[in-house]
Symmetry: C2
């Protein structure tokens, strides 16, 4: 028995979302479709140039936990907010989704992390993240009983950016494996892979991580190649199970020499791609921890990702469980 | 010459928006489609029961100012926020829309006002407003040069709820009229009309207010009648110009014995009615201050209202100017 299907660990972030033209990205030297790390000063500058915005709780692993819960799964989350209004918003939203979230908040400084997300007319999101309180996440925030009781512990590659979160992850992975659980990670972002390539490969090759989520650009970055086929083969050797997302081309699941191709969900209109990868992981892990076959896990990932890109904001505003049941996936 | 087309004055509020079933409203004794005033304690209770939410800058008159600016008009706004994160969000969004907003913020307590808005499956919004910092808006917040330089000064009936805003309004109206400008108000909400009926009628009959915006329920409440025809006739006598909105039946503009019927804008799907009345006023006042005929003013109001109810949140996320030009209204 387990108390939780999926525990996720990540940077706890509130998204600030506005539309812009592509030119705005160029003028402000924002790398398109990437996660751009910024400091407090640049955050202030970019905000002064940003149009009217909406706010929504985000954070890659937070979105994944919310997605698991929306599918009816039992989810938990570790992440650090400050004791401020954005922290209250983040805490409310993830708990209101039914996710266990008890990480002790910081005082008021540094403030809760925010990511200014610029959505271009093609629906692509370009993120500008000020980490704020996230830099304080550390091993003291690992709740051992939650890790022990979660079928899968999943974390973001992004956690290699703050200074001590990686120590928390190594502790959590140790606890998980000691209890016969599995550990999953997302490579997060191709620039993040460039920053921490050696460490990510070590996590996989040492068996610290069992399951890897990535997109095409991240896999290519991981193996420093343009040969996607070669990168997939290398990835299949470096972890027990991997799911590689390919935008409108769906995804490929790798297990040993097995490959399973998954189609993308039919999307009426791409509004905002924020959260697509996070929700794919949510759907996949929900299915995986329920013991469903890989085809079904992938289809649930495609569905969850497809739904979130048809709306503004990174967490689905409809029940994924209802949608999955309607399509006969549950 | 004038510097501003429209100055609006209102409660400066950040909206916290979530979907719910009708039963949730009943269970929590929330009056549907109304603005329910709540204190800090009830705000905390309702938030604990609210699902995952989105945040967006709101406030009736703030939405109207944003709508005027989105149409290409020159807008200004007076309203009180606190020096906190929600206050920064409100300030950012209204300025980013191009609205002049310089009201001095409070310290950190009471905090910036928030309205928890529950949107039912029919798109109707039921608001639960904690006034917070708004209670401190007073005559010292009137910028006399801005009032003097605005063609129309528009305020919310909601401003009769906080203690001293009404003094600010009377001062502003005096300055406006001394400079040959016009003063407009919205009756805001039928329950608000019940609270302040005598004062609202006095504002109109004394000539403090020249132009009145209302919906059907508010006009009936104002004259304590179920006879809509009689209420319209009374309203036409009590002010120089009035626009009465009728949801999907459009609106009626009253000037003396003249009546102009305006059709509603074709709406593909009602997603969230928050801001509909505010945006009608924005479109109307933009046209009115540009010297357009009443039919065109009403059509601009219908367009702006129609666009905002097709989205989540109270301020249009597309350029109203572009939409109005596309339809040949500008």
């Amino acid at each position: 028995m387990s108390t939780f299907d999926v525990l996720t660990i990540g940077n706890a972030i509130v998204d600030i979302i506005a539309r812009c033209e592509d030119r705005f990205l160029d003028d402000n030297e924002i790398i398109k479709s990437a996660m751009n790390l910024i400091d407090a000063e640049r955050a202030e500058l970019l905000y002064s140039r940003m149009g009217p915005a909406l706010e929504a709780s985000g954070g890659s692993a937070g979105n994944t936990a919310a997605g698991v819960a929306s599918l009816g799964g039992r989810a938990a989350y570790f992440g650090k907010v400050a004791s401020d209004q954005l922290g209250e918003i983040f805490t409310h939203d993830i708990r209101a989704q039914g996710v266990h979230f008890q990480t002790r908040p910081l005082g008021s400084q540094p403030p809760t992390a925010r990511s200014m997300i610029f959505v271009t007319p093609d629906g692509e999101r370009s993120m500008n993240t000020y980490l704020g309180a996230c830099v304080e996440l550390g091993p003291e925030d690992v709740e051992p009983d939650v890790v022990a009781e979660a079928r899968v512990t999943y974390f973001e590659g992004y956690l290699w950016d703050p200074p001590r979160a990686k120590d928390a992850i190594r502790d959590a992975a140790r606890i998980a494996h000691a209890h016969g659980r599995e550990v999953a990670m997302t490579l997060s972002d191709s620039f993040c892979v460039h920053r921490y390539r050696a460490e990510f490969l070590e996590l996989m090759r040492s068996g610290t991580v069992d399951i890897v989520f990535a997109n095409r650009a991240e896999v290519l970055a991981l193996y420093e190649t343009e040969d996607f086929e070669a990168a997939l083969s290398a990835l299949a050797k470096d972890c027990r199970l991997a799911a590689v997302t390919l935008s409108e081309d769906g995804s490929i699941i790798l297990r040993g020499t097995d490959r399973v191709r998954i189609a993308a969900h039919d999307v009426a209109r791409v509004v905002d791609t924020t959260g697509a990868g996070d929700l794919y992981a949510a759907g996949f892990l929900f299915g995986y921890t329920a013991g469903l076959p890989l085809e079904r896990c992938g289809a649930l990932g495609s569905l969850a990702a497809g739904i979130v890109i048809e709306q503004v904001g990174p967490r689905p505003m409809v029940s994924l469980k209802v949608e999955a049941e309607r399509l006969g996936l549950l």
